[in-house]
């Protein structure tokens, strides 16, 4: 089905597959890692994966909306990271630990 051409001819599908793979990677991190900061980072990874597909679509369909979305996603990711890290810091101050299980408790 796929020949060498598939490797030399890069198209939307490649980017989407890469994006999915990165997304799954990030998701695995979110689901499986214990360290809350790593989970946050995995989320960033997922967002990046999504960004790739946005840009890819934008490129292959000649529409700039995809890039606008990426712009927004980046902003939100930055915001999320800031707040997430702030929460981490306060949790860490209390428990000296960033295990995700410590985030179950709503009251310290």
């Amino acid at each position: 089905m796929y020949n060498l051409n598939w490797f030399s001819q890069i198209g939307l599908q490649h980017y989407l597959l890469l994006s999915s793979a990165l997304f799954i990677c990030g998701m695995a991190g979110v689901l499986l890692r214990k360290n809350a900061i790593v989970i946050l980072m995995s989320i960033e990874l997922m967002l990046n994966a999504v960004n790739i597909s946005f840009v890819a679509f934008s490129h292959y369909q000649s529409k700039l909306e995809g890039q606008i979305m990426v712009f927004f996603v980046m902003t939100i990711a930055a915001a999320e990271a800031a707040v997430g890290l702030a929460i981490m810091v306060s949790i860490f101050k209390r428990f000296r630990e960033v295990n995700i299980r410590f985030f179950e408790r709503l009251k310290g």
Partner: protein, 174 residues
Amino acid sequence: MISDAILFWILAFLSLSAGLTVVMIANPIYSALALVMTMVSVAGLFVTLGAYFLAGVQLIVYAGAVMVLFVMVLMLFDLKNEVYAFTQGLLTNVVKLGCLGLLAGLLAGTLVLSSYQSQEIQDKVVAAADQTKALGQLLFTQYLFGFEVLGILLLIVAIGAVALSRSRGGTHHV
């Protein structure tokens, strides 16, 4: 064209391997550094897709700011090598992995079987400089509302982050 392909494969390899490292490696600092690597390669991918401005922004925002924060925080915490990188619980982990596998399979299947096989690369790729200008115009006309909302969001986040992480006493008084 072949150079594009080579660049893509290199960047894809870099980003995927770095991404896997993020997830797999036990030391969170290495995770973070691997993530930086991923970010940079994703920026490269953006370049291959002609989104130069976004690539720059990706570098500035992700690599330059967000990840620095992560690394700083991790260094501050100074977490020793963790014995268990992954959560405990066999059953839940099996369920999670099952989910992941299913999702991966579904995505891959969808993509491979989808109708994108006949790829028409469109030549009307806008010149990069104009593209940036067009992006700006779109952002400040059609998506102005979203932009403003994001601005407000950032303000809130700034205040919120300060409020969350402030410590009693503070470092200095003016």
